[in-house]
Chain length 258, copies 2
DNA sequence: CAGTGGTCTAGACCACACT
DNA sequence: GTGTGGTCTAGACCACTGC
């Protein structure tokens, strides 16, 4: 196949261009990525079978297989034997919150159950300084700002501020944020077609100021975990900035190293 | 090959036993794991070529390849095209500290440079309660306890306590801890043949007590990141417990989610 | 049963590193 | 050049799902 359906200028596929050499399966991966990005297959749906894709791209099944393997390793696709390959989604994934690493101290390594969300604020604003930079916007561009408190089992546990690019999330309301049954990122998929694929977090210990302390129902000055997250869609485009403060008196941030 | 060199009882390989069905390449992976564990190939050395291993196990190259792929994905092996496949090591890995996620706030996403180590204490002791449990020891078993401060660019940044099982680390001295040029985990490989393969961390925000504050040169009550780590060798055997307190005033714990 | 992903093989050829 | 890992192919067969 090489590129599109033009006749190859080289003897065959592989080593197709000038630059760093990209194996066939990576090119296929790129094409699949484009289709995902373009919404040809939506979160939760199946993509065509390996055979169909092999025929479409004029490569062997093994080559599309390797491309799909990488996309599955990146958590963009989910393979299910006998059923097909599915576009990953933040909904209906047996882990409630894929990006939330806060877990109860006791009990299994099991993730957190559903939280109660209390929206303190949800308004249009303008991105400035750091926020614009981290979201890949220009200073002054439209943004949406949300402040909320998440409670687990009745205990206010997370206070967080979200910033979203205004164009992609035009029309987001406090009601949507509060009432959607399921993870916020699932709502973003359904309502705005924005799928979060990857995120980076910077974690620090900070002391609660008076307002934060009140909202989280802890003494002022209490140590809190500060978690700053930038979440990205396809192609490394930043789509959300979150600054969270986590109570860690009966929960902890769990991380695996290897 | 199926199992050992006995004649197969089934028509061919695959579907070899009663239980959950383990594909051939996973059995090969298990055999490679055993060899690694037994020290047949030491950290930093190459393992035999894919062809040799294929011959040894009587399978095709593709099958050992898939086994090696998984071990490489687990960071137990490192493949280098044209050169061979190497046993991963904490030494001479271009990342100084593979398990330390603390990075400077400014500058690249680059990891931390070498730290100055100040050993405050290093003594034989006995594991009790939580420590015994987390290390897989019985209460009262021999253990080694170390307390140290790590400084970066002259700033004391990490105060940590280490507990090690006494049998595996018999003879560890404060001098070894202080003077080994390179990561502590590299020293463990060289001096004790213990290779850390995986770790789990529990992270919290805490307030510094008077002693901790003095050692880290911060005001008492300052928020610090508490990082409790259990590190494992092959086969999920716990080999180290670490309780660290990190200053995060000019550094942060960096994490990637996907 | 047919259709999907999963495993295994054998052989050809490519890219990289050393000598 | 030789040897290593890396890619690609084609075909056979296995395991799981659902009709």
């Amino acid at each position: 196949m090489a590129t599109s359906s033009l006749p190859d200028d080289s003897t065959d596929h592989a080593a197709q261009g000038t630059p760093a050499f990209s194996p066939l399966y990576r090119q296929i991966k790129g094409l699949l990525l484009q289709s995902l990005q373009a919404g040809e297959w939506k979160p939760g749906e199946t993509i065509p079978s390996e055979m169909e894709l092999a025929a479409r791209f004029r490569v062997s099944q093994g080559t599309v297989r390797k491309a799909i393997d990488e996309l599955a390793a990146d958590n963009l696709l989910v393979r299910r034997q006998g059923k097909g390959t599915f576009v990953a989604t933040h909904a209906e994934q047996h882990v409630q919150y894929r990006f939330l690493k806060l877990v109860p101290d006791s009990g299994a390594n099991v993730a957190e159950g559903p939280a109660q969300r209390r929206i303190l604020d949800c308004r249009r604003s303008r991105a400035t300084g750091d926020i614009a930079r981290l979201l890949g916007l220009r200073s002054g561009d439209a943004a949406i700002q949300v402040r909320r408190v998440l409670s687990f089992e009745g205990t206010p546990t997370i206070l967080e501020d979200l910033w979203l690019p205004g164009t992609a999330f035009k029309g987001l309301t406090a009601e949507q944020m509060a009432d959607y049954p399921g993870p916020t990122y699932a709502m973003f998929e359904v309502e705005f077609g924005v799928r979060m694929v990857r995120a980076e977090e910077k974690i620090r210990a900070v002391a609660a100021d008076a307002q934060q302390a009140a909202l989280l129902e802890v003494p002022a000055g209490s140590p809190l975990l500060s978690v700053e997250r930038v979440a990205y869609t396809y192609n490394g485009v930043p789509m959300e900035l979150r600054r969270g403060l986590y109570r860690t008196d009966s929960r902890h941030y769990r991380n695996e190293l290897s």
